[in-house]
C-alpha cells in the first residue's frame, strides 16, 4: 500500500514539476512529497484509532489505579500507563501534586512523568514508519524501562527531601474527570477531535522536519555522516545527547531527520539517544516543575536522563551494530 506514496511522489516530481530523475533537486523534492503525504495520512489514521482507545484511560483514572499499590507494582504500572497516557506539559504540576496527595510514592510519580513524554502515539507512529518496527519496539521498551529505573532510584536515594515542602501539606479533593462516564458517540468524537487537534499542532514541525531531512538526503554526502557520526566515532553518542538538550522539539520534527540519518549510515543507538534527548529533556518543562521540585531534584533528573540516554545509545549500537 505504501507504493501509493512513492507513485504519487514520482508523478509530482517527474511529471508535474518536470524534474530530471537522479538530480539532487529531484531527489530532495521526491523525498519531501513522499514523506509528508505518508506521514500525514498515517498520523491522522493512527491518532484516531489510538485516541479511541485512549478515551478509556485518563490521568485521573491512572491516579486511582496507582493508589495503594506496592512499590514494585507501582513503578511498572506507572511507566506502562505513562506510555499510554499523554498530558499537556502545562498539567505537570497539578498532576504531580494530585499523585502525591493520593499517597502515591515520589518514585512511582517520577516513573509516570519520565515515560509519558518519551513514549507517545505520535512518536511511535513516526518511528515505525521511519526506522521500522524492530527499533520502535526497542524504543518503547527502553522508554518504559527508563521510567521504572528512574522511579526506583528516586525512592532508593530517598529524594523526597528534594520536593518543595509545601507540596506535602496540600489537601485536594478527589479529582474528577467529567468526561469519563460518557458513551461511544462521545469517544468517537473525542478520537476525531484529538486527531484534528494534534495534526493542527504538529503540521509545521512535520514540514520543517521533512524539509530538513530532504535537504540532508539530497545534498549532504554519506561520507560526511560516516566521518562525524559513524560507529567509529566514540564521542558521537554523548555529543548527540548533549546536542539534543537545548533542541526542544516534539518527536514530529525530529523523526523524519532520523530516517535520513539512518539511511546515511549513522548507527541506530546514536539516533535513538538523540531523539530521546530532544523529546524528554526540555528546559521549559523543567522550569514548570521547578514550582514543586527543588533545583537539586531537577539536576538529578537531567543527569539521570543524560547518563541513561548515553547508555542506551552505546548498548543499541553494540546490539544492533552487528
Amino acid at each position: 500500500m505504501l507504493e501509493l506514496f512513492t507513485n504519487f511522489a514520482d508523478w509530482t516530481a517527474y511529471s508535474l514539476f518536470s524534474l530530471e530523475k537522479g538530480t539532487k533537486l529531484a531527489d530532495a523534492v521526491h523525498f519531501f512529497i513522499e514523506d509528508t503525504t505518508k506521514i500525514f495520512l498515517l498520523l491522522a489514521l493512527m491518532i484516531y484509532i489510538i485516541g479511541f482507545g485512549r478515551s478509556f484511560v485518563s490521568p485521573e483514572k491512572v491516579r486511582v489505579w496507582l493508589t495503594g499499590k506496592s512499590r514494585f507494582t507501582g513503578y511498572v504500572l506507572a511507566a506502562l500507563l505513562g506510555a499510554l497516557t499523554p498530558f499537556c506539559s502545562c498539567s505537570s504540576v497539578p498532576l504531580f501534586i494530585a499523585f502525591l496527595s493520593a499517597g502515591i510514592p515520589l518514585g512511582v510519580t517520577m516513573a509516570f512523568l519520565i515515560t509519558s513524554p518519551l513514549v507517545n502515539e505520535v512518536a511511535v507512529v513516526l518511528l515505525g514508519e521511519a526506522l521500522g518496527w524492530k527499533f520502535t519496539f526497542a524504543y518503547v521498551g527502553t522508554g518504559i524501562g527508563l521510567g521504572i529505573m528512574g522511579g526506583f532510584i528516586t525512592d532508593a536515594l530517598k529524594l523526597n527531601k528534594w520536593v518543595e515542602p509545601y507540596v506535602w501539606d496540600i489537601k485536594m479533593p478527589a479529582p474528577q474527570n467529567a468526561d469519563e462516564a460518557r458513551g461511544w458517540g462521545w469517544r468517537e468524537k473525542y478520537a476525531r477531535s484529538e486527531a484534528i487537534d494534534i495534526i493542527k499542532r504538529v503540521w509545521l514541525y512535520v514540514l520543517i522536519g521533512v524539509g530538513l531531512g530532504a535537504g540532508l538526503h539530497g545534498y549532504v554526502p554519506q561520507e560526511w555522516f560516516l566521518e562525524h557520526a559513524g560507529a567509529d566515532n566514540l564521542f558521537a553518542v554523548p555529543l548527540a545527547v548533549l546536542m539534543g538538550i537545548p533542541l526542544y522539539s516534539n518527536a514530529t520534527g525530529i523523526i523524519p531527520v532520523a530516517e535520513v540519518l539512518l539511511n546515511k549510515g549513522v548507527p541506530v543507538g546514536t539516533i535513538l539517544a538523540f531523539i530521546m534527548s530532544i523529546v524528554a529533556i526540555s528546559l521549559p518543562e523543567l522550569l514548570i516543575l521547578r514550582k514543586v521540585l527543588k533545583p537539586q531534584m531537577l539536576i538529578f533528573f537531567v543527569v539521570f536522563l543524560f547518563l541513561a540516554f548515553i547508555g542506551v545509545g552505546y548498548s543499541f549500537n553494540i546490539i544492533f551494530g552487528g
Partner: protein, 77 residues
C-alpha cells in the same frame, strides 16, 4: 453566565477561552469568563488535568479543549 477556565496558560487554555467566547457571541449568550492560572488554586478545585472548565462551581470538563457541541450544551442551559 459565569464560566471559569482553569489552566496555567498554555495554547490549549487560550483556545478553550476563545472557543467559549466565540460560541457565546454566536448564540447571543452573555458570559463572564474568569481565568484561574495558579496551579495550587487549580489543584484545590479538584482538577488534575488542564485546561478545565467550571460552571457554578461544578467541573464540567477537564484535560483538553472542549468540543463545540459541549460548549453549546453549557451555554444553552
Amino acid at each position: 453566565m459565569d464560566i471559569t477556565v482553569l489552566g496555567k496558560g498554555c495554547s490549549r487554555c487560550g483556545s478553550t477561552i476563545q472557543r467559549i467566547e466565540r460560541e457565546a457571541a454566536e448564540l447571543g449568550v452573555p458570559v463572564h469568563i474568569t481565568k484561574i492560572t495558579d496551579e495550587i488554586e487549580i489543584i484545590k478545585n479538584g482538577i488534575m488535568t488542564t485546561p478545565a472548565v467550571m460552571i457554578d462551581g461544578k467541573i464540567v470538563h477537564s484535560g483538553g479543549i472542549p468540543s463545540i457541541e459541549d460548549v453549546h450544551t453549557w451555554l444553552n442551559k
